[in-house]
Amino acid sequence: MARIIVITSGKGGVGKTTTAAAMAMGLAQRGHRTAVIDFDVGLRNLDLIMGCERRVVYDFVNVINGEANLNQALIRDKRCDSLYVLPASQTRDKEALTQEGVGKVLEELGKGHDYIVCDSPAGIEHGANMAMYFADDAVVVTNPEVSSVRDSDRMLGILASKSRRAEQDDEPIKEHLLLTRYSADRVERGEMLSVDDVQEILSLNLLGVIPESQAVLNASNAGIPVVLDNESNAGRAYNDMVARYLGEDLPMRFLDTERKGIFSRLFRG
């Protein structure tokens, strides 16, 4: 049975889809059979980030409704054999994701895969609930700003009370924090919450810190998950994240500003 990982946040635009693509690609590159599912019905964009948008024929909702079978809808990644993408439906109504339907698809996918990564839509409504309901692990993607941290905390409340594991009194979902769009410069100037600040409030297992980086936009422009760009800080930070998820003990990188010399620091005050 596959392990199900939900990438969630509450707030929109924090980097969930970027992270889902990175997580899935990172796991697959390490040889794990991985599927990544876009739960953002109506706002499909995981396929764009993965660069497979022109190969979409059937989608998640088609499979749930029995209009296509799973193999017809899954798109195999061209760069990595062990990675499959299940795109979201572009047009249907959000209620099309029924709990029963989602459960069936996950069960079938779970037979042939080691990991299933679920890219959650924003919000705390139906779509987000469906994405997290069956999860074993949750990566809570958070930006270092007030509304994102608050929404992450609310999402933690939902994970702890409305998931299958909660309802069946199983061991709770394993929650991890991923801090993204982090700017060490701004933290140093006191303009942005630091990792420690966020950890003091959320106190979760810290899976990684992804720096704010132009490389993310470049990657999404090109349809290549940023985790494949090992030249960039963001790409390397995402690789570290995947390695940590798999149990490696790596120090956090990119938390400090580039060494600029003591004098420039002194003058900046």
Binding site: V146, D153, R154, G190, E191, I201, R265
Partner: protein, 88 residues
């Protein structure tokens, strides 16, 4: 205090420390709210009914407040009785 600490102390002047303080309050409040037992509204209703058997109180005379800290839960019950003149 080392030189580094002097630099660090500058951080407290930035907006990040305000953000952190606000968040701590906000999140504590959110958590208290979501941890409220679900029976509170019904409890409030039933207490009101019992009181009204004996005293003519307003429908909003009973308020129930739930709070929680690290190791205790508090249920605070407030009942406003009418003026002495109004009592039978």
């Amino acid at each position: 205090m080392g030189l580094l600490d002097v630099f660090r102390s500058n951080r407290n002047k930035g907006s990040a420390s305000v953000a952190k303080e606000r968040l701590q309050i906000l999140v504590a409040h959110d958590r208290a709210y979501r941890n409220r037992p679900s029976y509170l509204p019904k409890l409030q209703q039933e207490i009101l009914e019992v009181i009204r058997k004996y005293v003519e109180v307003d429908l909003d005379a009973v308020s129930v407040n739930y709070e929680q800290d690290d190791d205790q839960e508090f249920l605070e019950l407030n009942i406003v009785l009418p003026d002495a003149a109004g009592r039978g």
